[in-house]
Symmetry: C2
């Protein structure tokens, strides 16, 4: 048994039992992959993979148990490397952040800037993806720290911390009907209503992104069926279409900048949609470089100021 065999087992599972792909991902030949699997099975005296003829289809019962242990071992192998770097290059190394667009664009920049000042030699990698992809990157060890509002809390094998809480904001082009309506209501001391918003075509995030779930929920509770004419991955795209007059936008409040978004107006609607909690996630059992812990500390510290 050697580490290459363990890596191959793990990668084969991750690649849905396609040995060719696993070989490519490990930068080796697939004949080697095939042989290593066979060797390990021979050594252990157990079939690890379900086969149909020559094709691998899945794991056998012992294979599943083994895969779990292998994951742990390779995590520990990575931990050893991290540990070594920790001591050999105190403030040097890599830190990979996996984040959604919203966090990357509107929340993390100031934190990252602070971090760079304190750890100028640390190379930062910013991976952008969906909450699911972020969870996957953390679990596979590709990323050290993950940021997302959705999903993260429910994934097994991840540890999450609360990062910051925020509300959605409604944005409209300057002079839009809804803006006037809101102003009137405001004068008479009344708040904006969901019904008023729902009377316009809406533009907001994709399902599974940036609190889309809490938007759905608010309308549903109010017995309204919003007309979402366009959904997008990020606020920049949403703002562009709002500027074009395609509809009323609902974005994370952090995404609106009064100084830059001169053609847009923000309407307060923190009373209409439930608050969203963005979370920081790390893989359970993953030995973090000390500057990773520091980054997290910066985040929780900055959270009070957001």
């Amino acid at each position: 048994m050697n580490f290459q065999q363990l890596r191959i087992i793990r990668e084969t599972v991750r690649c849905n039992f396609n040995l060719t792909e696993a070989a490519n991902r490990l930068f080796t030949s697939q004949s080697g992959v095939s042989k290593h699997i066979k060797d390990l099975e021979d050594e252990l005296g157990v079939e690890l993979f379900e086969r149909k003829g020559k094709r691998l289809l899945g794991l056998t019962a012992p294979g599943r148990e083994l895969a779990k242990i292998v994951e742990r071992m390779l995590l520990d192998a990575q931990n050893i490397k991290n540990l070594a770097e920790q001591y050999s290059q105190q403030d040097q190394g890599h830190l990979t952040l996996a984040t959604t667009h919203t966090q990357a664009r509107y929340v993390l920049p100031t934190i990252v800037a602070q971090f760079r000042l304190q750890f100028p030699k640390v190379k930062l990698h910013l991976h952008q993806g969906s909450p699911q992809e972020i969870a996957q990157m953390l679990l596979s060890g590709e990323a050290d720290i993950g940021f997302a509002t959705e999903t993260l809390g429910t994934i097994d094998g991840l540890l999450t911390y609360p990062f910051h809480s925020w509300h959605h904001a409604v944005i409209v082009p300057a002079g839009h009907g809804l803006e006037k309506q809101a102003a009137k209501l405001h004068k008479s001391g009344k708040p904006l209503t969901l019904a008023a918003i729902a009377s316009y075509p809406l533009i907001t995030y994709h399902a599974g992104f940036t609190g889309r779930a809490s938007i759905e929920q608010a309308f549903k509770t109010a017995g309204l069926t919003p007309d979402i004419v366009l959904s997008a991955l990020d606020a920049d795209v949403i703002k562009s279409y709002v500027e074009l007059g395609m509809g009323v936008g609902i974005v994370a409040e952090m995404a609106f900048n009064a100084e830059r978004d001169l053609n847009l107006r923000r309407l307060d609607c923190s009373h209409l949609f439930p608050a969203n909690l963005t979370k920081i996630a790390v893989r359970e059992g993953h030995l973090q470089r000390h500057f990773a812990d520091h980054f997290i500390a910066l985040c929780t510290q900055a959270a009070s100021g957001i």
Copy 2:
């Protein structure tokens, strides 16, 4: 990094940093051991061992952290092998029990006999040692299941279950003064006293064995200073000297057999000494063969009948 290097790290620590001994224990050359350590240190870019000239003296800070992870990884490696055996040879394999003399001689035989009937192909290894040695064997992976009355409960990294509870018994040669004294007391409805026992020279277990601690405690609480003229590791030895008339014996009640120990008499003293709890221990994180779990089940089941 490979497994041989990890094994070498672990064994070097266990052998108090004597590379020659570590090499012997791993059935390899010490030049190889030396090189492997150097290679790993080079690869990680960290010194793992404190050195004074050419001699290794101990672990550095990173070395200590690494050693912990290495222990985990090698435990998992062993778990993989156990797992494979589990499936490839359902009811075959080895089971190593580490036990004190008392348990090996008076408690386990019937359980072992039962076990053999159910798993005739499992090879049993019975290692005898002090509670400390038993703990060590469990932690190092030499033994699968440990049995002892002392120590086990307090060791980090071990999981313990209660096995059975028992009392000490006082044994004397037939016709001994204490026997008559006890008989008299019994007629008048009174129990034997500690003071009566303490008036004779005593023979019992070594410190740290088979409930010796609870014997000490009982006398101390009663304000008595027992005259222990001889201490031994096991009840057989104690009984031999009691038969010779050297003193009054205090042994585990299981050790007295009225049918065999014809020259001895047992005096009840369960009211005099606190009960002792013998424990079953296993290493935390050690994947047991299913028949090991079965052995433990037999034990707890038998415990009600002891």
